[in-house]
């Protein structure tokens, strides 16, 4: 019953947010139509960051308690999170070209996001290539924790780097600040809610799937 209700609510929120993005929200003055990409980019950036924190937290819980449930949670968040990260990066690149005049800059947040994406990939690749078992799960959790500890260092280094090598953006809209009026803010929040609901549902399905595959192999 709860599952069906969740699906219905998520579908409604998703459809409403689609309507809002394409039909309801006014076009932003400075960036134009391109600005609508941010209604995709920002929510996926949000869930990517949630996922990476979740992977680290559940990995710590797994190392502390040795309960395989937490390892399953960490793995599931990573698997869905890496897809969200790809959407975040690609949508960001597509948005950046017309607005900043370049596909990519050395901005600290971008660098950190890209490196964290690689750490996600490394975590999942390791799980794939190492023989399955308790040792693999323990080491994967350690990799996740190391990635989490390195993240603030990466961000700090990228910030110093950015100071020495200022952002090379030359697009016509590069110097304009984005203006978010109330309708845009409501649309953005609706999109964040929509993507969060879909993300959470997908993670839940992945957790059940991983649990089933674990039981099937027993």
């Amino acid at each position: 019953m709860i599952r069906q209700l969740y699906i219905v609510v998520s579908a409604i929120v998703f459809l409403v947010s689609l309507w809002m993005i394409f039909l309801w929200v006014p076009t932003e003055i400075n960036q134009g139509v391109v600005q609508r990409i941010l209604y995709v980019h920002v929510p996926f950036a949000w869930v990517s960051m949630v996922a990476i924190v979740a992977v680290a937290v559940y990995s710590v819980l797994f190392l502390a308690t040795k309960n395989p449930k937490w390892d399953n949670f960490a793995q599931s968040f990573a698997e869905v999170g890496v897809v969200a990260a790809i959407v975040m990066l690609v949508s960001g690149i597509v948005w950046a070209r017309p607005v900043w005049g370049v596909f990519w800059t050395g901005e600290a947040k971008l660098t950190t996001a890209l490196i964290l994406f690689f750490i996600y990939c490394a975590y999942l690749m390791f799980r794939s290539y190492f023989p399955a078992g308790a040792t693999r799960n323990r080491i994967a959790a350690i990799i996740a924790v190391i990635g989490a500890i390195d993240s603030p260092i990466i961000y700090y280094a990228a910030q110093i780097w950015q100071q020495n090598h200022p952002r090379a953006v030359v697009g016509p809209l590069s110097t304009q600040e984005s203006n978010l009026n109330p309708e845009m803010m409501i649309t953005l929040l609706m999109c964040v809610l929509s993507v969060t609901l879909v993300f959470a549902g997908t993670v839940w399905i992945q957790i059940q799937s991983n649990k089933y595959h674990g039981a099937a192999n027993a």
Binding site: P131, G133, N217, A218
Partner: protein, 214 residues
């Protein structure tokens, strides 16, 4: 008690290898474990030597546990281990390998000690040969020398008779018997009934993950 294994369980990727397995080994005992291929003999030895940890149950060697780092170090000073692989540096000579491990074990007068063991196993002529150039039988003997360097209280060997000729088998059986007589303990696996009869005081068979006294 030299070795106390209590109700251990070990699985690999959901494959249950050992279940409810218990074993005790006291001074002057030489225990042989037999069993078919894949029955868990090597896994049991790895657990007793601290290379693997059981999923459940406890292992105490010399009344100490591998779970404590400091106790683990003390145990390793007093046991000798030779598993299926000889665990030697192939590009080092026999002499270099044995001197290295003797130094790591903290043996102060290691040269005479190495000479004594090498002589007993008939490896005098091979001391300056690279391990990779030795026959499988001689490599096995070098591995055995390594495990005997510190005159261990407990010797753990996986199939000591593998790759060895009849003469060498007698020598090794003699070493194991002498050790048991002088108050030490041996735990080994074997496929050879004759070898087991020569030098074990007790024999067990691993069956369905547990031990059965023979």
């Amino acid at each position: 008690m030299l070795l106390e294994v209590s109700n251990i369980k070990k699985s690999f990727q959901d494959n249950l290898v050992l279940e409810n397995l218990s074993l005790s080994l006291d001074l002057e005992e030489s225990i042989c474990i037999t069993g078919s291929n894949g029955s868990g003999k090597s896994t049991l030895l790895k657990i007793c030597s601290g290379l693997l940890h059981p999923d459940q149950g406890a292992v105490n060697v010399l009344e100490k546990s591998f779970l404590s780092q400091s106790q683990g170090l003390e145990i390793r000073r007093r046991i000798g281990v030779l598993l299926h692989s000889n665990m030697l540096y192939p590009t080092y000579t026999v002499r270099q390998n044995l001197y290295l491990f003797a130094k790591i074990l903290g043996i102060i007068e290691y040269k005479p000690r190495v000479g004594e063991i090498v002589e007993r196993l008939g490896l005098d002529d091979s001391m300056d040969k690279e391990v990779q150039k030795l026959s499988n039988g001689n490599k096995r003997k070098v591995g055995l020398c390594k495990s005997l360097l510190n005159d261990p209280d407990l010797l753990i060997i996986d199939e000591p008779e593998s790759n060895l000729d009849a003469e060498s088998l007698k020598t090794i059986a003699g070493i194991l018997t002498d050790r048991a007589t002088s108050g030490k303990g041996n735990l080994f696996t074997s496929h050879s009934v004759e070898f087991s009869a020569l030098c074990s005081t007790k024999s067990f068979k691993i069956s369905s993950g547990s031990l059965v006294l023979l």
